[in-house]
Symmetry: C2
Subunit: 226 residues, 2 copies
């Protein structure tokens, strides 16, 4: 499948690499490819510059948001939550129309320090904001409840004995995403329901952040025992 | 230990009965004991009237909030979130002073229908509101992330292979609560940190409610795999 991964941070790189290994044709989307490649310093999270990562992943292309989205059958939103709508507008409603959007972003607001607060919650969600902004896009929320390494290799913790959630209004889109998740090793995938159920998974972030503090590592995951 | 359980609903009855079985001296607190005992209809959740339950649990006393709190060494807040502060004010700051308060309530707002929204979240929590209102009370948030039956018998699901969270500013109080939880069968108890971490567990309610819908039962629990 032709997949565009919007976002050049840890989540974007991790998803792009994993989908490439599964044999998909992956293009990472960014605002300005030449400035992305020109950066030589680590990013705000301490990741090596994108150009260094790109040299080790020659199978992954880089393009502007619009070009990446135009050529894709499925688009992954791996941008930061605060810039997701802007990035998707740059990708262009026409280039996204009718396509599946796997939305991994979380609506975190770091402007008041740590822990971040949420700029939308409870009575709305980032996934719903995206769905309303791009009505023909088939938004599926998933993977936003775990650290990037586990998104593509859940077996790294407890042999993969954990739960992954999907939310969305479009059943065939959720089926396609569920198949992609299964290919990545996710075994217990719960369909929570329509896109409003993304409020539930986005609101896992506050306890996720406290658990990272209490456990001293992001290498943990949620499991729903029943 | 002398334990007051504030609240006559499912959570209050379940906690009172379980602590009684463990040999504690339990008094349920209510606004007006005579009117609680006079009710003959099922309550809003369909539970039998309190008087019927009380006949089957003669070991559990019933008293007004203030009297129940006055005689207790540890107090359980099993009232609805929206009425918790009012109930604790009725219990009286003097009667609560210096005591451990195990806070199980969730800040759910049912006024706009189902699913409920939250009347406090993200940048504050009900547990913090209670702690600020009663500064000398040693508030410990716990058990608010699971259905009542699992609070007192976590082995009912997956043999008890699930996680229970505690939040609070007072370490000895958290230790006492953790011992009580262990006696009830809770095996994996994570201390998330200070009382502000209750924001994380209270914000589990939105996904908990969606999971109950998706799974068709409240008999599930969270486990943190790591």
């Amino acid at each position: 499948m032709k997949i565009a991964v919007l976002g050049t941070g840890t989540v974007g790189r991790t998803m792009a690499s994993a989908f490439g290994k599964l044999g998909h044709e992956v293009t990472v989307g960014t605002r300005d490819p030449s400035s992305t490649m020109a950066r030589t310093d680590p990013d705000a999270m301490g990741n090596p510059p994108y150009s260094a990562w790109a040299r080790e992943h020659p199978e992954v292309a880089l393009a502007a948001f619009a070009e990446a989205a135009r050529g894709a059958e499925l688009v992954v939103n791996a941008t930061s939550g605060a810039s997701s709508i802007t990035a998707l507008e740059a990708a262009g409603a026409d280039n996204l129309a009718g396509k599946i959007l796997l939305d991994i972003a979380n609506p975190l607001d770091f402007s008041r320090g740590m822990p971040p607060s949420m700029f939308v919650k409870d009575t709305d969600s980032l996934a719903e904001q995206i769905q309303r902004s791009f009505p023909t896009v088939r938004v599926v929320k998933a993977l936003n409840t775990m650290t990037a390494a586990l998104m593509v290799d859940p077996e790294l913790v407890s042999g993969g004995d954990s739960t992954t959630f999907v939310s969305g209004d479009d059943q065939p889109a959720k089926k396609t995403v569920t198949e992609l998740l299964s290919a990545l090793g996710h075994r217990d995938i719960i369909d929570l329901g329509d896109i409003t159920t993304a409020r539930g998974t986005e609101m896992l972030l506050p306890i996720w952040l406290r658990l990272m503090g209490a456990l001293g590592t992001p290498m943990f995951n949620f499991k729903i025992v029943r």
